[in-house]
Chain length 228, copies 6
C-alpha cells in the first residue's frame, strides 16, 4: 500500500515532523511518501492561504496518480482542497482535520480543537459543520502562535500550550482534545500524558484511516460529485 | 493487539461469517476473537431486542477486560449498547453501524443504508443523528427480510437484493451504500462489483477503525461521561 | 385508569417519594402502582447503569401488560429503556425526563436542567436532542451529589442546591427549571417558591401526560417501529 | 379549574364542535368555556388571517384574566397568537397544533399532519420548527378543502379524506397522524378506526395538556420573555 | 420606485429618525414615504406589542397597495407582521431585522445583535432561526434601555452603549454588529468608527435590499403561502 | 461606485452575457467592469474546476484592489473562492449563488435551484448549508447540460429547460426559482413569464446586493477571519 502525504505548508521542517509521525503509526507494509505542496505558502493560516496552497495539493495528487499511489493524506488541519482532491484521485483522500474529528467523536462526549491562529477558527468550524461533527465540537481555540512556531517549541512554550489546553478542556467540558495543526504532530504523547484525556494527532489518525479504507478495498465514489 | 468482536445476535452461523470478514481485513499482528453476546436474542430487530441483547454485550466486555483485550467491536448495525460499553472498557469501543457511516461520509456525497427490517430504520436513523452523520444519510431502506435470512442468501435472493440496492441508490441519489446488517458482511465484494459504487461492510470498517485507534494509542476518555 | 410507574433506581425510599408525588398530582380515578425495576441498580448514574436497569424496567412492563395497565411511566430522568418499552406496551409509555422537557418548552423561552451527577449530562443532552427539544435547552448542570443523597436533603444541602439552581438560571438565562432527577421529586414546591420560575418535576409531569394520553384514547403506534 | 378555549375562527358551528370535544375529554372538575375570537375572521387560512385573528384571541385572554381563568387553549392548528398570549396570561397557554405535535412525538417514530389548505403548510412547518418538533414531522399535507367545509363533511367527503390520510401515511412512513385543523375535531375516533394508527385531535390534546400543567401547579414563566 | 416604510412603533420622533436614514441611503429615483403603524403601540417590546402593532402595519400596507407602492419596509427589528404582510402586498416586503441579518452574514464570520430590551431577545432569536441565520448569530444582547430612550441618547448614554457593544463583540467573538432597534438607526456611523467592525443599521439595509429586489423586478411569490 | 465582476468561467461569450445583465440592473453611478478569471477553466463544473478557477478569481481581486474597486462579484453560482476573496478585498465580496439564495429566502416559502450539471449539486448544497439557507432550499436540480451550452440556447432547448423548471417547482413545492448558473443570466425574464413564480438571476441579485452594501458604507470585517 502506497500513501502520499501532502503537506500544504511549504516547510521542510514540518514535512519531516509529519514524516516521523507517519512512520510511527503506519503498518509495516505501508509505503509512505511525504511531500510539500509546493505552492509557495510557507504556512496555511486562513482561507486565502488555503486557496493558494490547494493548487499545489492538487498537483501533487495528479503526480501521485501517475505514480500509482493508493491513497492520499492532506496534512493540514483545515483539510486544504479535500473535495477537489477527491475528484482527481481514484483512491480515498482524507484530511488530517477530518480524520481527527471522526476519531474524536468515537472516544468521548465532545471534543475541543486547539489550533494555531484565531483566523483558522472559522475554517475549522465550517469544516466540522460540513462533516456533520459540529454537534460534537465544544469549541475551537487558538494558541495564538504562528503555525511554524509550533514545530519547534521551547520547553516554556510547550508548558504554556499544555496549560492553555488544560484550560480549554475545563472551560468547554470537552472529553477529548484534537491537535488542530500539523505542527503539533509530535506533541501527542506529551500532551496526552499531561492532560489525562485522549489527544488526537490528525496525521496519525489520517494514516490509520487511509490504511483502513484501503484494506476495506474502498475508493472514492465516482457516481457523480467526485467524477472527473 | 487483541480485539474482541461481539455479535449481539446469538447466531453461530452469523458469528462465523463475521469472523471470516474480520480475518480478511485484519492486520497480521491483530488477534481477533468473535463471540456471541449470549443474551438469548437470535437476531436483533428493533429497540426491544437491542435492549435485551446489550446486557450480553456488556457481559462479554467485562469478561474481555479481565482477559486484557485492547478494543471492542459491536457487530450489529444498530451498535447495541455502544455508550454503556464505553463506560466499562478501557480501550476504544466502536459499533459496525458507526464505523460504516463514518467511512461512508469520507467517500462520497451522501450514503444510503440497506437494512434487514423496517423496524430497524428508526434505530439506525436515531444513531446517525446522534453521531452527527444524518446530514450525509440520504435514506435508510429495508430489505424486508429477517436478519438471519441475510446470512445465507440463495442466488435469486441475492439478485433481488442487488436490484433493491440499485433502486435505492438511484432513488436517493446516494453515492455510497452501507450494508446495514452484519448478516450481509460477506456480500461487500459482490455488491460492490454489481453496483459500481463503494459498498461498506461495517464489520470490516469496524476492525480497521479499531486497529487505527489502537495504533494511535487512543482509548476512551474517562474524563466524565464514560468514567465508571 | 391504571398507571404503572417504574423506578429504575432500586431504592425503596425513592419509590416512596415518587409514589407520594404521583398521588399528589393524579386524578381521583387514576389507580397508580409504583414499583422498582428490580435489576439491582441502586441508582442510575450514566449509560451503563441505564443499560442494566432497563432490563428490569422492561420486565416490569411485561408484568404490567399481563395485569392490564393502561400506561407506563419510567421514573428516572434519563428515561431508561423508553423506546424498547414502547415496543412491548400497548398503552402509552413516557419517561419523566421527556415529560418534563415537553412541559418546559411550553412555559418559557428556554429551560435548564439540574441533574445529580455530571455523568448524566451526556445522557440527558442526547435525549433532549432525540426528542427535538435541545433547541430549548439552555444547559444541563450537575448538582454533583449522588442520586440517592437527593432523596433526603438536609436543610443546608437543600439551600446549597437552591443557590446552585439560582446560579444556573442566571448563567444560562433559562426561564424554566427542570428537576433532572427523581430524587428531587418532592422539592418542586420549595424550589419554585425560592426561585420564582416554574420548576418542573418529571414525575408529576409524567403522570399528567399519561392521564392526558389515555383520556385522548391514544396508544403507542404499532405501524412499524414499536410493533412487536 | 377553569379553562378558556378560544376559537380564532369566527364560526359558531366550529365553536360547538370544539366544545363537544372539550367536554368529551375534560375531567369532571374542569370548567370549560369556549368562545370565538371575535376578530371577524370566519376561518383562519394562512398568515394574514392569523395576524388579524390573533388580536381577537388576545382580547379574549384579557377578558379571561379578569374572570379568573386558570389556563387558555388556542383552538386553531396554527396556534394563533400563542407567544403574545403567554405575555398577558398568568396561567399556561397552549395551542392545539402545539399540543398535538408534542403528543404525537411520544407515540411513534414520526408523524404527518393533515391540514385544510396548502396555504397553511408554511405556518405549521414554521411552528413545528420553532417547537423543535420538525425532526419528528414527516410531512404536512393539505386536504385542499376550505376550513369550514371540514366541520360538516358528507359521508363521501369523509371517505375521500380518510383515503387521503391513508395515502399520506404510506407516502411519508409516518406512524401517527395529527389532525391539523380544529374543523376535524370530531373525526378523531372515525379516522383512528379506519387508519389503524394513533390519530391526534389537538383540541382534546390541548385540554389534557392544560389540565396537566394546572395540576402540576405550573404557570407561564415571567422571568423575561413572557413578562408583561 | 415608491417604497413605503412602516414604523410599528407609534413614535413620530423615531419616524423622523428612520426617514433621515432612508434619505441618506436611498437612490435618487427612490421615493420614500415613512409612516407610523398607528396601532397605538408607542414602542414594540416583545411578542404582545408586536401582535398589536402588526395590525397597524397590515393596514398601512393595504393603504399602500391602493396608492401603488412598489415595496414595503417594516422598520422594527422584530420584523412585525412580516409574513402576513407578504400575503397582501404585490411587491416585496422585508423587515429591518431580516435585512440586517442577511447583510451581516455576508460581511464576517458571525454577528452579534444589540437590542433594547431583554424581552426582545426571544423574538429576534426565533426570527434568526426562521430565516436560517441563527448559525451566524453569536448572541443577542440587550442594552436594557427602553426603545424610545435609544432615539435620543445623551453623550454619556451613547458612550455606555458603545462600551456595551465593545464588550459584546469581545465576549461573543462576533465580527459584525447588528443594531437591533430602529431607535439606533442614526448611530451606525458613530458606532462603526468606535468599534472598528462593520455595524449594520437595518433601516438602511432594508431600503437597499428593497431597491435591489425592485431593480431585479422581483415580487413576492404568489404560488401558495403568500397568495391572498 | 466601482464594481469588479469576475467570471470564473473563462468564456468571453459568458462574460458578455454577464456584462449585459449587470448593465441592465446597475444604477447610473455604478461603474462595472467584467473580467474572466483567466485561470484556464472554460467552465466550472464541480469542486476541482472551482479550486483551479479560484486562483484566477483571487488574482483579479488583487489587481482590483490596486485599481481601487469598491466591491466584487464572483459570477459563478458556486461562489468560487468566496471566503478567500474576502480576506484580500477591503470592500464587500459576494457570490452570485449566495446573493440569489438570500433574495429567494425573502420572496417565498422555499426555493429550488436549477443548475447545469449534476456534479454541481453537492457544491451548491454545501454552500446553501454554510450560508444557513438550506432550510429554505427545497431541492437542487440539474439541467444535465454543459455550462457553456446554457449561454446560447436554441428555442427548443429553452422550452425543454422551462418545462424542466416547471416540473422542478411542482415536484418540490418551491415558490421561487433560482437560476443556478451564470450561463442562464439572460433567461430570467423569459423564465419568469413562463413559470409564474419569481425567478432569480444571481448576477443581477449580486450587483444589487453589492450596491446596497456599498451605499450602506459596509465593508468586510477585518476583525479576525478575513484579516490578511
Amino acid at each position: 500500500m502506497k500513501i502520499l502525504v501532502i503537506n500544504p505548508n511549504d516547510s521542510n521542517d514540518m514535512r519531516l515532523l509529519i514524516e516521523q509521525s507517519c512512520r510511527e503509526v503506519a503498518g509495516q507494509s505501508t509505503d509512505i511518501t511525504v511531500v510539500c505542496a509546493g505552492a509557495g505558502v510557507a504556512s496555511v493560516e486562513g482561507y486565502y492561504d488555503g486557496a493558494i496552497a490547494q493548487v499545489g495539493v492538487l498537483e501533487q495528487i495528479q503526480l501521485g496518480e501517475k505514480e500509482g499511489f493508493d491513497a492520499y493524506l492532506i496534512a493540514c488541519a483545515d483539510d486544504t482542497g479535500l473535495y477537489a482532491a477527491r475528484e482527481i484521485a481514484k483512491g480515498p483522500v482524507v484530511g488530517i482535520g477530518e480524520a481527527a474529528m471522526h476519531y474524536a467523536s468515537m472516544l468521548g462526549y465532545g471534543f475541543a480543537i486547539l489550533t494555531a491562529q484565531a483566523k483558522s477558527i472559522a475554517v475549522l468550524a465550517n469544516n466540522a459543520s460540513a462533516y456533520g461533527l459540529s454537534q460534537h465540537c465544544r469549541g475551537i481555540f487558538a494558541a495564538c502562535m504562528p503555525v511554524l512556531a509550533l514545530e519547534d517549541l521551547t520547553s516554556d512554550e510547550r508548558e504554556r500550550l499544555v496549560a492553555r489546553a488544560q484550560a480549554i478542556i475545563e472551560q468547554s467540558n470537552a472529553e477529548v482534545l484534537v491537535l488542530g495543526c500539523a505542527g503539533l504532530t509530535q506533541q501527542q504523547t506529551y500532551f496526552s500524558q499531561q492532560l489525562g484525556v485522549p489527544v488526537i494527532d490528525g496525521v496519525r489518525a489520517g494514516i490509520s484511516t487511509l490504511e483502513g479504507l484501503v484494506k476495506n478495498k474502498l475508493v472514492t465514489s465516482k457516481r457523480n460529485t467526485y467524477l472527473r
